[in-house]
Symmetry: C2
């Protein structure tokens, strides 16, 4: 038994162990190839059998610990694999990973300057630089544990902006508050509406057009109706890059309406916002500078390791006004340096992981031009993917592509070339899940699917991994077709 209870690593005891861990990671996760599987599928019941999750009174030897790590890797999904095209994150950037490892070794909590001096100033620089890329009046922001949380913070800011006494008094004296959001918005809007005491039914759903964009006329009509009913509209949430279809709402028209009714405009650009780095595609974000707040997740499009979510605000005072509490054991009034460098008091949280470093370090390593190349490469691949779907009779596009998201059906033979493939929706509903189950069981490709607005289950191709090539696209479509053709004869 080789047990040590000390939390200070000692080189003679732990050096060799940590070196083995690093070696294991290098060989089995960091440097993967297309020949590796994306995952080794096991049902929950099978995994329970094969993995020793038990927690015991006594510790284990280093040899056993290495085996546990090896098994953790073996049965985990390789999210850095090019065929992991399942979520709005993927890829494994070596610079991002190096920075994340360093962040963990330093184990900082970014609330006061004295405890996290480098990361405090780095946050200020990164927020300033991203703000500059958004527009001239932008200048403050927060790193949040995920885009959902950042959207929730924005709802709170909008409410506070309209009714500053909410912080002190709550909402008991207020009329019913209403949030307007696309019927294709991210579900976090509903979750945080409930959490903030606003309620899911007070999220007013705005209709979208045939490719998933908010219809401004519907927004204006709904605001008028809500005002007539004596309710209080507090904000509109537009999306740049919706989750399923990658749709970009018409920001300028929405901003005009918000201005007319004097309501807060929040933009959920968690997925699309990274386009600020690409000259070629930046126009998709036109109008973004007109928002009052917005979310960009560098851990999505830019492939920064999770999590890295940035909430930006136009009003540079509101974060402190809305969130400060001045806890005296952290933010002492008699410090020996300028307290405005203690960023923690503008946050909702207390202890907070350092999420800026990996983003800053990747930016240093690649430069803005590196992010731009990454994006442009991805957009080319998405364009090729859409082209292939359109060219092959075995596939059908759900709606015109606007971004990385390519939404498509695989069509069983009996549906190809038919004029109304939706006659039997229940039949098509089953196709994607069945193909996907087999791909997962093979461990070959992880590709998501979902229904939407009455349309039966369709696949959503989406990638943030710029190592993906046209040959990969061909392989993925061939693979789906091969499995589909075998199941649906």
């Amino acid at each position: 038994m080789d047990i040590d209870f000390s939390p200070i690593p000692q080189i003679e005891k732990h050096g060799e162990f940590l070196e083995k861990v690093v070696d294991l990671m290098f060989k089995n996760i960091v440097f993967t190839t297309r020949q590796d599987k994306v995952l080794l599928w096991q049902t929950p019941e099978e995994l329970e059998e094969q993995f020793d999750f038990s927690l015991k009174q006594n510790g284990e030897t280093h040899d056993k610990l290495i085996t546990f790590l090896r098994n953790t890797i073996k049965f985990s999904v390789k999210t850095g694999h090019p065929y992991f095209i399942n979520q709005l994150f993927s890829g494994l950037d070596p610079y991002g990973l190096a920075a994340q490892w360093l962040t963990d070794s330093l184990n900082a909590s970014v609330y006061t300057y004295e405890v996290a001096p480098v990361f405090t100033l780095m946050e200020k620089h990164v927020i300033k630089e991203v703000s500059r890329m958004i527009g001239p009046q932008w200048g403050d922001g927060l790193f949040c544990p995920g885009g959902s949380f950042a959207n929730g913070i924005a709802v709170n800011l909008a409410r506070f902006h309209r009714y500053p006494d909410v912080k002190e008094k709550g909402t008991f004296h207020l009329p019913r508050l209403i949030i307007f959001a696309s019927e294709e918005c991210h579900y976090s809007i509903y979750k945080f509406a409930a959490f903030l005491g606003i309620g899911e039914e007070n999220v007013c759903r705005i209709a979208t057009d045939e490719i998933g964009r908010i219809l401004p006329s519907d927004l204006e009509a709904k605001i008028n109706q809500v005002v007539l009913e004596g309710k209080a509209p507090i904000m509109t949430i537009a999306t740049l890059g919706t989750t399923v279809r990658g749709a970009f709402d018409p920001i300028n028209e929405i901003a005009d309406i918000c201005k007319k009714f004097n309501i807060w405009l929040h933009i959920d650009a968690a997925w699309g916002g990274g386009l600020i780095f690409s000259q070629k595609h930046r126009a998709k974000l036109n109008g973004i500078e007109r928002a009052n707040s917005l979310v960009v997740n560098p851990h999505k499009l830019l492939a920064v390791p999770q999590q890295c979510s940035l909430l930006l605000v136009r009003d540079t005072d509101i974060l402190y006004q809305c969130f400060s509490r001045g806890a005296e054991y952290l933010f002492q009034k008699d410090k020996h340096y300028d307290r405005s460098f203690d960023l923690g008091d503008k946050y909702l949280q207390c202890g907070r992981k350092c999420d800026v470093f990996k983003f800053w370090f990747m930016w240093k390593a690649k430069g803005s031009s590196g992010f731009a190349n990454h994006i442009d490469t991805l957009m080319d691949i998405a364009e090729y993917f859409e082209e292939q779907v359109n060219n092959r009779s075995e596939f059908l596009l759900v709606s015109k592509r606007q971004y990385m998201n390519v939404c498509f059906w695989y069509l069983p033979r009996y549906l190809r070339g038919k004029s109304n493939i939706f006659e039997n929706i229940a039949q098509l509903q089953k196709v994607a899940p069945q193909i996907r189950a087999l791909m997962i069981q093979h461990g070959s490709v992880m590709l998501g699917y979902q229904p939407l607005k009455g349309l039966p289950n369709f696949f959503r191709f989406v990638s943030q991994n710029s190592a993906l090539t046209r040959k990969d696209v061909d392989f993925i479509l061939d693979h789906i077709q091969e499995i589909g053709d075998a199941i649906f004869k």
Copy 2:
């Protein structure tokens, strides 16, 4: 220039770089000694001069990148150093660190079983085991990004439990909701009361006794008063291990009162809850099983790397009821496995870092007995620290120690042995900040201070680093005395 835009690491290009990074971390962070400084203090202005934060169009060479990493380490606080006794976290556990590195390499998001199979089952096992250690009726929980967030979730659960239609309708139809909390509770209670639309003024402050514990008689009186005023008491928040004094509220008496008035009892045991591992000190948590919800932060007492916060609930259905939304692009109804393994839908967030693995792996490495030894060692050191403060005329205890926290004043010569040292509070108020500023400028010791309930600034000793010895305690007190004696002649 050695730039690569690919997010897939390639062994020939990135292997050497990552090896250098690991070597740098091993030599400069992981294996520190007492001879190293805790920090190399620079004012924000000085650090701006010395560190290149700039973000540019083009990337940098690997050599330059290594220099940036080296500087990041140089100017960052070594939170693993034994003389970092500044926060409710410290220490650098090699097993925790190894697990954190692996988590980052796998870059998982724990929302569905298929994307994070190992971590999903691991969460279930760890929550089950910790629940078992709390009490027989416990069985569900969440990993949260920090204790503040976990407290906020608990407030939402208490409100939902009393008024389930809040999720749908918001709070507009409700009477004023009231939360009861100690006047020494953590400030997150106020921040989340504001965030949830309840309002800071609806947190009713309960008086504490001379060592910082809630006075049950005051709690009962305040609940009666609030009910008379037509307001709706929804919950009491008790604390096991308060932030400043480490006080343990009398849970059984508080639970009796909550039962009488039928209100939710939440226990903020973020700091004290780790004691469940110590047979010797477990009695401090007596009554904990009577709560409806509670928070334990393994990243505090147990020195798990940040962040690792566990919210536990007694009612095993309430998390799904309160938080589920069933987003169909993640939680498809037609999956090829049992959907109850998709934990994401009981969470408020969508994407979520894997915080369970480092805790599980440390538990495997040390066993429950390892955590117990860690705690008992720390408690011995705290006891010795208090003893020394009491034995030395240069120091004065603020209030009797209950836990790790030892709160004390350094007394300048002219105050030693005086009967009323508080005659000139403004004078004593300045002592701790001045001594602390010098210690930070020396980089020798990081030790926090704060005022409390009208008492002037005092130091708070607190450590989670079980490598700390009695000799270290002697050094720390000698050091404070030496600096104090030099300043206050």
